[in-house]
Symmetry: C2
Subunit: 335 residues, 2 copies
């Protein structure tokens, strides 16, 4: 029996299983500390395509197909795919997945897409409406810079708080039955906007959303931070991570020793000159699907909280003087 806990959390009666994952990343990500975890590393981020956008679509499609292959499933086995990306109108997803012919729900949660799609996939399986659901997301440094900031050719200076959009894709296949880590709880975020209007400081914009969801998760479930082996945020980077740990402390939760962030893990921050760390839907996507999933299977962790965060910003709105609304969706995963 599924149970609602408090205001924002669902506890699954029959927790869905994460059956298999796949992650493919770009060249720079393949030079980072997690290089060995990814299924494939591109040597050319354009991957033989004519445009960055087409390369991102290919990234998403190939990652999805690889996950299916690893799970020994075909597209026909999958009841639903939940997917999205950062491109306007989620073009990476629509062009990437159009040939798969799987019933499709498009989601938009910016960099929170991985856990948004895993939350929805779990609910549909947990509610007895699907046997298999696929959760896919991607981002690409070059298509994102072009769309959100400046064309690469412009050679714009990056501020110290800026994050580096990960070129990468992740796909997780959820199932009603089977072996693998289980999703036991989900805590769905609200839109939070604390007034940050600097598109080059997304960590600060997203941290309040992370704090809101995380505090609510503890309130709803009664869990204490130390019950988790790892509290992993999506891509707050160094700036947002510091804010999160400090303000959670003020809320009465000491998470400093338990916390890590996909944006901090995927790059050697200093040497790779990525300023505040990685970002993009593909950051949490590839770090979870490439690295963390394997560590769960190996037994490095018994229970983790995965919480991707998204800056729901739009370049036109920022130019019109708007601030940056953000969101964070948390998923409890138990080995």
């Amino acid at each position: 029996m599924n149970q609602r806990l408090g205001k924002q959390t669902v506890c699954f009666g029959e927790p869905p299983v994460i059956l298999e994952t796949a992650a493919i990343v770009g060249e720079k990500e393949g030079q980072g500390p997690l290089a060995e975890c990814f299924d494939d590393i591109l040597t050319d981020d354009q991957w033989g395509e004519k445009t960055w956008e087409k390369a991102e679509s290919k990234l998403q499609r190939e990652t999805a197909l690889l996950a299916l292959k690893k799970a020994k499933l075909t597209t026909d086995d999958i009841n639903y795919v939940f997917a999205g990306d950062l491109l306007n109108q989620c073009a990476g997803t629509h062009y990437g997945l159009r040939d798969l012919k799987i019933p499709f729900f498009g989601v938009y949660g910016a960099c929170s897409t991985m856990t948004e799609s895993m939350s929805l996939g779990s609910m549909i399986i947990g509610g007895g409406m699907a046997d298999y659901a696929m959760c896919v997301t991607s981002s690409h440094f070059c298509s994102a810079e072009k769309q959100y900031r400046f064309p690469l050719e412009y050679g714009g200076q990056r501020t110290p708080s800026a994050q580096w959009t990960v070129t990468g894709a992740g796909c997780a296949i959820l199932a009603k039955n089977g072996d693998g880590p289980k999703i036991t709880h989900i805590t769905t975020g609200k839109i939070i906007d604390m007034g940050i209007n600097d598109a080059n400081n997304m960590g600060a914009a997203m941290a309040p959303a992370a704090i809101d969801t995380l505090s609510q998760h503890f309130t709803d479930t009664g869990f204490r931070p130390e019950e988790y082996d790892l509290i992993l945020t999506g891509d707050l980077g160094t700036v947002g991570s510091d804010i999160l740990c400090e303000l959670m402390h003020d809320e009465g939760y000491d998470i400093t020793e338990l916390h890590n962030d996909c944006g901090k893990m995927i790059f050697n921050i200093e040497e790779q000159d990525v300023h505040a760390g990685g970002s993009g839907c593909g950051c949490c996507g590839s770090v979870f699907c490439g690295h963390i999933f394997n560590e769960l299977k190996k037994g490095t962790y018994d229970k983790i909280l995965l919480m991707a965060t998204g800056a729901l910003m739009n370049p036109s709105a920022i130019q019109q003087g708007e601030t940056i609304p953000s969101i964070a969706h948390a998923v409890t995963i138990v080995r």
Copy 2:
């Protein structure tokens, strides 16, 4: 007990109820044949805001608040909101709903958003994970033209097959219990791309997706078209509607007498000079939430199929020579 029927359909054991709806539209929509059905009609489509985008956000927020008021509920009662729009990064939604503080799932389905959000809302309620879910969407002629085509000031000529983006928003509140029409089945669409690359002929691009979902719905459920009092597509307009009826006939289903399209209903097509009819997320949103919901309650219809269609296009991709992927999600509603 929820049941999967065939490849793409779910039949709910305890069908969720559509408790209440609200619809607010722009000036031109208020001069059309459905004027009397809407809850409010703007006299100034900028609604006192500085930009079209801010006006669209206000449209979405006010419509959501109005639906809550009509249902005698508060934001605290709603477990989840599912919402999206056409603006890049769904800005209409994020800025519109950020003050509501309801757990939020952002969806992107272009003009199919109304039934995508109703499908997800129904599944979450049907799966026992929510008591109330809100489904919201909007579009605005001026923000959409600016983003997808030309700035209004340019005064571009419209082709005969072009559709007119509806300025409007719709909100439906779904509930586990209560009085109102019920959602008994949902059929979730796949991404279909038959090679249309003319962004001014979205009806033709979307019709194949509508045919695919509709045929699959009949196959999965065993329903015949004549069991429905109305088969209502989202916004195929005149061009797409003709294609749908003709090709469904070739598939062995005669739907001509039963079919109507929100894009054809919302305007007096000839007199209002809207070429192939209305489009935009707000088209199906306002026609269903403003008009059809009331007709269901009055008893004009006993059983309808609502199927919003979306052209998942992106202006950059079209400029890069891509075709237009499309999707259609169908929802069976019984009085």
